[in-house]
Amino acid sequence: MRRQPLPAWADIILIPIINITLALLVAGVVIALIGENPFKAFAVMFQGAFGYAEGIGYTLYYATNFIFTGLAVAIAFHAMLFNIGGEGQAYIGGLGVALVLLTFDHVLPFWILLPLAIAAAMLFGAAWAAIPAYLQAYRGSHIVITTIMFNFIASNLMVYLLVNVFIVPGSMSPESRVFDQTAWLPTVHDFLARFGIDVAASPLNLSFVIALIAGVFVWLFVWHTRWGYAIRTVGFSEPAAEYAGISAKKIIMLTMLISGALAGMAGINEIMGVQHKLLLDFVAGYGFTGIAVALMGRNHPLGIVLSSILFGALYQGGADLTFEMPNISREMVTAIQGFIILFSGALTYMSRPWLERLFGLFVREKSTEEVPHGR
């Protein structure tokens, strides 16, 4: 049977949609196996994520984290690096934010605290990525393994710091004190209330806007700067980079530092925007979700923003789902992420031959403008 090469739109839109559908299909089967009705479950999730203003707020709040971690994974992918360490980098980024705010919240005004906190989030996140990056670039150590190890190390480090250093004397829970209100990021509902617009309260805050700005920055950086050009050259072909005089080692460092900095920014949303204190496990898997987000968004900021919203909906809807169907735990969302990574990351083009045949049925042969292929 004749196959027709796919048009660009099918490649960019149709295939991702097919992959998500497959992932949700598998998730539906799992839900059915547990003994719940998958259609009802997905309806509950959709309602929970988009059905009411508070739900939407939560969806976008989660999405904020995923945009940061998704961009972090994506920029590394452009240099053919797999940064699985978003989890630890976000965790340590939050530590940086907390250090700044705990030190200066009573001293400095908000408009100085914000850039300082952002700088700290990026610096700490980048620093946590720097060692695996260095080891990959200069020692050839497998960055997938080292970044995972750094997640474990970050987790132990934070437990130690919270239990021994940040804990409020006399308190039983390993948490820092709450920051002064001047150091809180304005929430969207507060901001809109000033203009007389009444929106249900949610954790959605200014960092969503910062995340979108980060998306634009990554887009410009990767496709419209000479450094992005160098990153993509290294990612596609190290011999070509070497020939062109681009140092792969330096590019690995540069890319991973930016990647870590972006992941660290999740700390701004969580620590400065929502929790207003440093606490255990606030990253809650956002770093891993970034992998799914990046793969589904095809490593493009626009795709990442869209898939972040989808994952935000999964998280938020998943929370509602657990409430309505206690038999389905929150970790269902983790499993769905795994399915999405599988279908859109490892089985990306499974459906392509079928689609090509399908298109071949509809499209008449037109080989007038054939480009000769080289060998």
């Binding site: 196959r3 090469p5 410009l220 419209h224 700067t225 000479r226 050009y229 160098a230 993509r232 050259t233 596609f236 072909s237 011999p239 070509a240 070497e242 020939y243 062109a244 005089g245 140092s247 080989s367 054939e370 480009v371 000769p372 292929h373 080289g374 060998r375």
Partner: protein, 526 residues
């Protein structure tokens, strides 16, 4: 047609391909190919790059499955779906890129896939005995326990032939077997093939070198654009006729060029050595100079230091010892450099491996067209690049070097080999470099583009550039270069004026059997 009346002639046919077609995506690599090869003969298949020779043989060997058509082996219809079908039918193949496991011994490679049983012990004894027999019968001696990675190329090819014979091949296919051999090694190979023919083996050889067809084969088939356009008895045809059949028009076999007018030395290498990380000398006290207005060719069997020389001169590899003077700038181990800096010395580099280094397949043509020049101020603002400047420049390059299709936003991978190469040459030659380093400028390029590329290189010389040309094609070196330097094991073993060079003499020098320049210096005073 009734099949009965053809049986007698078909019995002598080792191979009879009928109506074979194969396409990859939108490209049709083989179109209704019919090929008959008589048993016990040496049959040549010639054609340009991309004519479909390798695809056809890969179908015969079961590496690809044909879309349509039938295969008859010794008169019997034989469906070949994979390599084991082909092996079972008595077909063996020596691939252009050897199919050997580098960290295995010769013996392990020979028995791989043809072991005697589930345990290795007996396989090893059996294979060793069989290798001894083959050595006696065909004079194919190899070191059985040597690691593949330790053997020279000529030996590797021998291992490949032994692999095929060990599997009982009665038909042996060789794909471009002489590309990596010296002329003398080629002669040895041909002797082996002739003795195989005497013993009744049918040999098919794919090549683009017409000279080899003429000296070796009994019959020859010519492929062009996926089809067999002619079959000839070798003794009744000529190089000129075959060349014309390959290209589809008359071809001029030589290049017009005036004698060189050498000026000052723009490139001078003194006692340059480079060692790899095993401590092996890849370049060994190399000294040479290239002057403005001349083309210096580097000959040698691939892997004898030519690549490393280009890499050092272009700034990719740091010199280990010695000194490089390049357009007035000195590069030493203490003052190493990098490719970007070397470009700023008005040096351009057309890399040997077009697909790996010369461009990025996934990039659009305009992105590949600034590779290495991507930091130049014309293409960059303070933070952002200037896409329109890049596109305009690419248009200009494509026009100047006749790159087709002239679409700067088309993916680099979607251009033919010749057009990719022209884009790279355009990128490197357009700035008007004083020193031009060129590696394998016409490898995998069709004949039409070869003529164009050769003219451009000569034009560059005539404008006063110093050109260093590394090529595996002796014909190309002899017609393009003004002087030819021969390298062997990282050393320069000889130099001749191109006008005085011939293939035999260069071949002897490439094997270090004949060293006209160094014999004098090495003579021990009595």
């Amino acid at each position: 047609m009734a099949s009965t009346d053809t049986t007698s002639s078909e019995l002598t046919l080792a191979i009879d391909l009928r109506n074979i077609s194969k396409s990859f995506g939108t490209v049709q690599a083989n179109k209704h190919v019919n090929l008959k090869v008589e048993a016990g003969t040496i049959h040549g298949i010639v054609g340009e790059n991309g004519a479909g020779k390798s695809t056809l043989m890969s179908i015969l060997y079961g590496f690809y499955e044909a879309d349509a058509g039938e295969i008859y082996i010794f008169g019997k219809r034989t469906p070949i779906r994979n390599s084991s079908d082909a092996i079972a039918a008595g077909i063996g193949m020596v691939h252009q890129h050897f199919m050997l496991v580098e960290n295995f011994t010769v013996l392990e490679n020979v028995m791989l896939g043809a072991e005697s049983g589930a345990m290795l012990g007996r396989s090893i004894t059996d294979a060793a005995a069989e290798l001894d027999r083959l050595e006696r019968e065909f004079g194919l001696a190899v070191e059985k326990d040597a690691l593949i990675s330790d053997l020279p190329v000529g030996q590797l090819q021998r291992v490949e032939i032994l692999k095929a014979l060990y599997r009982g091949a009665r038909i042996l296919i060789l794909d471009e077997p002489t590309g990596v051999l010296t002329p003398q090694e080629t002669d040895q190979l041909f002797a082996i093939l002739r003795s195989l023919r005497e013993q009744g083996t049918t040999v098919i050889i794919i090549t683009h070198k017409l000279r080899e067809i003429m000296v070796l084969t009994d019959q020859v088939s010519v492929m062009r654009q996926g089809e067999i356009v002619a079959s000839r008895v070798t003794s009744e045809t000529s190089r000129e006729e075959l060349a014309e059949l390959m290209v589809g028009r008359k071809v001029r076999m030589s290049i017009d060029k005036t004698p060189a007018q050498p000026g000052e030395a723009l490139l001078r290498v003194e006692n340059l050595s480079v060692h790899d990380h095993y401590g092996v000398a890849r370049l060994d006290r190399v000294s040479l100079e290239v002057r403005a207005g001349e083309i210096v060719g580097i000959a040698g069997v691939s892997g004898n230091g030519q690549s490393e020389l280009l890499d050092v001169l272009s700034g990719i590899l740091p010199p280990g010892e010695g000194e490089v003077l390049i357009n007035g700038h000195t590069v030493t181990p203490e003052h190493a450099t990098n490719p970007e800096q070397v470009r700023s010395y008005s040096v351009a580099h057309v890399p040997e491996d077009r697909l790996k280094r010369g461009l990025v397949r996934e990039f659009i043509a305009a992105e590949s067209a600034i590779l290495g020049y991507h930091n130049a101020s014309e293409y960059n603002g303070v933070f952002l690049t200037k896409p329109s400047a890049i596109i305009d420049h690419t248009h200009h390059l494509m026009e100047a070097f006749d790159v087709r299709p002239a679409h700067p936003t088309l993916k680099s991978a979607n251009f033919s080999g010749g057009n990719q190469q022209k884009l790279i040459l355009a990128r490197e030659m357009d700035p008007g470099p004083k020193v031009l380093l060129v590696g394998q400028p016409t490898r995998g390029v069709d004949i039409g583009a070869i003529e164009f590329i050769h003219k451009q290189i000569v034009a560059m010389r005539d404008e006063g550039s110093a050109v260093l040309l590394v090529s595996g094609e002796l014909d190309e070196l002899m017609s393009l270069a003004d002087r030819i330097i021969v390298m062997f094991e990282g050393r320069i073993v000889g130099e001749v004026a191109a006008s005085e060079a011939d293939e035999k003499m260069l071949g002897l020098m490439m094997a270090n059997a004949h060293t006209p320049t160094s014999t004098v210096s090495e003579e021990v005073p009595a």
